[in-house]
């Protein structure tokens, strides 16, 4: 390579003509071999004479550049990192309030739904009480403070997310499963009607009570309330969009955990909140009845009352049988209503009913032709109520409309009815030796109305048992079960003198 250090002075001299021919030649020759030099020469030739000043200036600039740049390189890096940290900090700060309530909830509840507040799930329920109780306090912030001291309620509060809406309903179901207070062995949540666990999946809309001054329509997307005529008090039809309402069947109503046929009886002011399960996944929980959607209504009273009641009492499934006082006949179709609430059931063909009630609840029992009765629910879970026949004229009409109207007695029964059958028994249940007592037996009513398979459940003595069987065999004929299947019937025969 040619000499590195280009002697600028040499070039300048050359250009100035101060070099001798020899030197000039040398430079020229060098230039010919080195186009770099050649170009530079040309440049200098065209420019003004004294470039030394410029070159010194350049030299200074270079030195500056070389020694100070480092700092400048750092600056953008520093600025960038500061901005990054600031950004991260604010993002983290914004996130953290949300993070706090989440872990307790998520640890307990699997929220798969779209709703902001997740519902109870299987795994949550199965957790042990102490663990649940621990996390209870974390829920206090988000929910209303529940004044309770019973473990049941604690468990409920901890397990169930935000108090309103479905909580009341769930709570009731929940307590039903508990047999003893202050003792939590194992918890299984049972969905209404079906033995399934509850979880709210899919489309759920909720409305709070405080703004519930108008009807449901317009408050929940996809829910339409249609009134048949403009008259107040007439039941309106609720349509939930996207679900099959063509058949005209309304969605399932659940009021305070009980199945309700219609909600036109509800006072709007009583309603604390409404949950609408819009999608068909509700059927997974509530059965095929929920094919048109489910509307879960929590009433204010129930919410508040239940709280205090649940503290010391539990709702129970009360089973009972209503008989007539005079003939001890089971009375079918009797209306059994929970006083103060809009839930009720009717007795079946055998006069039996089952109703959810708490201790202290009053059951209103009404039946055409009989005097109304009020029975208070005590600790027993089975009741036997006898109704007096009403002697006065039938001036009032009691509409038996609670629950599913049963026009057809479905189960197997004596063809002429229980009344006649009991009459027959009373007349004929006499033993030869005059003994008194009770024989309980079961037999099967076949599809062809024949009786078979007699079994003694409670025996008096051999003779009495035999007598009992004879009585039934020779007695009034039986009507088989509507579904055509053989049905087992239990009969109690009291032998009198």
């Amino acid at each position: 390579m040619s000499a590195k250090k280009t002697d600028i002075s040499q070039i300048e001299k050359y250009l100035a003509g101060e070099l001798d021919t020899r030197a000039m030649h040398e430079l020229e020759r060098q230039a010919l071999n080195d186009p770099f030099l050649m170009d530079a020469l040309e440049g200098y030739e065209r420019a003004s004479k004294n470039q030394q000043a410029n070159l010194t200036d350049l030299s200074n600039r270079l030195q500056q550049r070389v020694h100070t740049k480092r700092r400048m390189v750092l600056w953008p890096a520093i600025a960038a990192s500061v901005l990054l940290f600031a950004g991260l900090g604010t993002w983290w700060l914004l996130r953290s309030p949300r993070i706090q309530p989440r872990p307790p909830q998520s640890s307990i509840v699997q929220s798969k739904s779209v709703t902001p507040k997740p519902a109870v799930s299987d795994s949550a329920i199965k957790q042990n009480a102490p663990q649940i109780a621990q996390t209870k306090h974390k829920f206090k912030k988000a929910h209303r403070t529940l004044k309770t001291s019973v473990v049941n309620e604690q468990v409920l509060a901890a397990v169930l997310p935000p108090a309103d809406k479905s909580a009341a309903y769930e709570r009731q179901k929940f307590t039903d499963t508990l047999t003893t207070p202050n003792e939590l062995k194992e918890v299984v949540v049972i969905g209404y009607g079906a033995q399934k666990k509850v979880s709210i999946t899919g489309a759920v809309a909720s409305i709070k009570a405080d703004s519930l001054t108008s009807t449901l329509s317009g408050r929940v997307a996809g829910v339409n309330v249609v009134t048949k005529n403009g008259r107040p008090g007439t039941s309106s039809r609720i349509q939930i969009r996207g679900i099959n309402t063509q058949s005209g069947v309304e969605p399932l109503y659940i009021v305070d955990g009980k199945l309700a046929d219609k909600i036109s009886d509800l006072k709007q002011n009583d309603v604390a909140s409404i949950n609408v399960l819009k999608d068909t996944s509700a059927t997974a929980i509530y059965g095929s009845r929920a094919a048109n959607g489910v509307i879960i209504i929590t009433t204010k009273k129930s919410k508040l009352d239940n709280l205090s009641e649940v503290e010391s009492k539990q709702t129970q499934l009360i089973a009972g049988r209503i008989l007539s006082k005079s003939g001890n006949e089971p009375l079918p179709g009797v209306a059994v209503k929970l006083a103060g609430k809009n839930t009720g059931v009717t007795t079946d063909a055998n006069g039996r009913f089952k109703i959810q009630a708490q201790k202290g609840d009053v059951l209103d029992i009404a039946y055409v032709g009989y005097q109304n009765e009020k029975v208070k629910v005590k600790g027993h879970d089975s009741l036997q109520i006898k109704l007096n026949e009403r002697q006065s004229a039938l001036s009032e009409v009691v509409v038996v409309g609670y629950g599913t109207p049963r026009e057809v007695i479905e189960e197997a029964h004596p063809t002429n009815g229980w009344q006649e059958f009991n009459k027959y028994l009373k007349e004929n249940a006499n033993l030869a030796d005059g003994k008194t007592g009770v024989v309980k037996l079961t037999f099967v009513v076949n599809a062809d109305n024949s009786l078979s398979d007699f079994k003694i459940v409670r025996s008096l003595n051999a003779q009495a048992d035999q007598e009992a069987i004879e009585l039934i065999k020779d007695g009034p004929s039986w009507q088989h079960n509507v579904n055509g299947q053989p049905e087992k019937v239990t009969v109690r025969i009291r032998f009198r003198k």
Partner: protein
């Protein structure tokens, strides 16, 4: 100790050496040192293309910036020639950006081989050279003859031949190129 020795041999330290050291240490001062040696040339080139002194000075600095980036990226074999190409390209880009297209004659933009031919002193090659010389055109032959063989400077050649200075330069350059081509052609045979 090593530093010291290096310092001593600074004038002799190769460009490649400086580059290597820069790559290892990242010390800009080294690069600055290297650049400074060629700065007059770079400046000159810029002057040639850009003509404006201030602009040329800025260009020199900008070329240095480019240098920093490119030195780490590419493997530079011959620093001087590479720098030359870099400087020239930069200036041309400037010109293009400034919409000032300088029409360069072919002669000026001609590429020159940087690799020096090994010293050929044997008979055969000299003969080749003579042979090729005769193939040149008259002015070229004359100019080359005067310049290389008689070792005249451009000025003298111009005076002798009567051609203008630029013409002389042109002839010499073209002649040189042709000779080179001729010699290479002969070598291939």
């Amino acid at each position: 100790m090593k530093l010291f020795s290096l310092r001593k041999t600074k004038p002799q330290a190769g460009d490649e050496d400086l580059l290597q050291r820069y790559r290892q240490t990242g010390d800009l001062a080294l690069l600055g040192e290297l650049y400074e040696q060629y700065m007059p040339l770079v400046y000159g080139v810029c002057l040639k293309y850009l003509q404006d002194e201030e602009q040329s000075k800025d260009a020199v600095m900008q070329i240095f910036e480019e240098l920093i980036v490119k030195v780490t990226r590419h493997e530079v074999k011959q620093f001087k020639s590479w720098l030359y190409v870099l400087a020239r390209n930069f200036c041309l880009m400037q010109l293009r950006a400034g919409k000032k297209m300088e029409t360069l004659s072919i002669d000026e933009v001609m590429e020159f081989p940087f690799v020096l031919h090994p010293d050929e002193s044997n008979e055969a090659q000299l003969k080749q050279l003579e042979c090729c010389m005769r193939k040149l055109t008259a002015p070229q032959q004359q100019s080359i003859d005067l310049f290389y063989l008689r070792e005249k400077c451009y000025k003298e050649v111009a005076e002798i031949t009567g051609y203008s200075l630029n013409e002389v330069k042109s002839y010499i350059q073209n002649g040189k190129r042709n000779l080179k081509i001729c010699l290479e052609a002969n070598r291939e045979r």
